[in-house]
Amino acid sequence: MAHAAPHSDSPHHPALAHHFDNLAQQQEAASLGMWVFLLTEILFFGGLFLVYTIYRAWYPDAFASASHHLDIPLGTVNTAVLIGSSLTMAMAVHAAQLNSRRGIMLFIVLTMILGGVFLGIKGVEYSHKFHEHLIPGPHFAYAEAEFFRPAQLFFSLYFIMTGLHAIHMIIGIGLMIWMLVWTYKGIIGDGYFSPVEVVGLYWHFVDIVWIFLFPLLYLIGRHATGH
């Protein structure tokens, strides 16, 4: 189709791969590809959420007890920080759609800062857990002896799930550095922005994972008295 007549979509755009008719089609393919990858991510995290579900159903009291050792104020602040970073990421994509290179760079830097704040707070929380001997293993200590083993299950899941989430964020921040370089060099812009859109999809997915992790890990059995 594209070779039949001069196309309104500037077929000679430097970023347009030869097997696409136009940038819109290329953008659609890139988003579809990213979504297919995100499906594998849904099932990857889904498996962990499934393990969580089984063990929480198995040991409800131990999970509620262990959950009380997590810091709700820090978790809430981190949720807000991550939602804020999703907003700035959405604004970066918006700026990209409007071909504003300054806007892309501004909002990507803001997103990276918020992502960094999230990881910093997470590091503080991990440090607290370390000092409280809540890392599963030989030095694990737990006041309520009857929950000694299942509480380790909870904390194993806590560290695996939040740790994998944090690794995803670090990768996301790395991708954003890449986007900054490409935008600075002018590779992104002038109607070509699918890399920013795709990185945005990834970042929002990571946000969604946290939206589920926060209530499931931090907020179990908070209404219960006695702890």
């Binding site: 309104s8 979504w35 959405a90 002038d190």
Partner: protein, 112 residues
């Protein structure tokens, strides 16, 4: 060239929509923390999950542009959820049927 590209590519969502979604997400984060302190019995978990699902849905629809995307992408997203339901449905079916009446009732023994 830029103009051509701009109107041919994806729907440009006005920032106002993003601000509304952001505000909703923040309010719901507060709600989910507040609800956790109310004693709703088994409904505590249901409320937490319902709020989280709603938050995830508006992130997918607006921040991730699925509301404005093609049917192919919408179908892809639904396929992902479908496989997740299979993963949970078949596994929980096995666990709950196998341990009918005893699941979650095990006496927990600590080593000390």
């Amino acid at each position: 060239m830029a103009e051509h590209a701009a109107h041919s590519t994806a729907h440009v969502v006005p920032p106002k929509v993003y601000y509304v979604v952001f505000t909703t997400l923040m309010v719901l984060t507060g709600v989910t923390v507040a609800v956790a302190y109310l004693d709703l019995g088994a409904l505590n978990a249901v409320a937490a999950l319902a709020i989280a699902c709603f938050k995830a849905t508006i992130v997918v629809l607006y921040f991730m542009h699925v509301k404005y995307s093609t049917r192919l992408i919408k179908l892809t997203v639904i396929a992902g959820l479908y496989w997740l339901v299979i993963l949970f449905g078949l596994t929980m079916n096995d666990y709950l049927m196998r341990a009918m009446g005893t699941f979650g009732q095990q006496v927990i023994q600590g080593p000390r």
